[in-house]
Symmetry: C2
Subunit: 128 residues, 2 copies
Amino acid sequence: MSKISIDEFAKVELAVGEILSVEKVENADKLLKLSVDFGEIKNTEKDEEGNEVETISRDIRQIVSGIALYFEDYKVLVNKKVMFVVNLEPRTIKGLESNGMILAVSNNSGDFSLLYPDQKVSAGLRAK
Amino acid sequence: MSKISIDEFAKVELAVGEILSVEKVENADKLLKLSVDFGEIKNTEKDEEGNEVETISRDIRQIVSGIALYFEDYKVLVNKKVMFVVNLEPRTIKGLESNGMILAVSNNSGDFSLLYPDQKVSAGLRAK
């Protein structure tokens, strides 16, 4: 594979996501629909008098992933913190919006693993 | 952060590395010098009679990383499998060649974690 600069790597935003829920996608054996929490987002808004007000919301996203067949029971994923790519252009998969991609390592021999940070770290932590 | 295409993400090669040894770098509190195994590399060479012969070697690299202060005892890293970026241009840090970068998540509050695949997978497995 070609070499890249540190700047090219830095374009990719990798973050810890906490999986809140997992469902099978109908008529798609490989697909899981995840709801994933990427932590707090701080927003600055103006109130009625024009003052800047900071509001906090959570960055919760739907992510569709083709990893279903790697798990005997995909429900083990619930409450797990694993790594995602979080700044890919959103895609539509089987009619479902997917706003990010789960990170996994695999080979052609069936080896497969998700990538886990220490489970005590917060959702939303970024790779730097 | 800006959105990226899947092709931009695919330029980045992420791989499981097994840490073979760890040493402190002299006169650099934050730096560790790692020797990391990234699995087998298949090479095709020609023998004396011009026949193609496949040889196998291991992809073992020196990687210098500024993570020393996150570990009470950095020796815990030995034999661990963690994630690395493996196609960055090599750099020289304190006179030592570094041929890759360890992946970690962190924030400004001191939270920090390396990224772990299931420890049973093989060194060299790539993110896809």
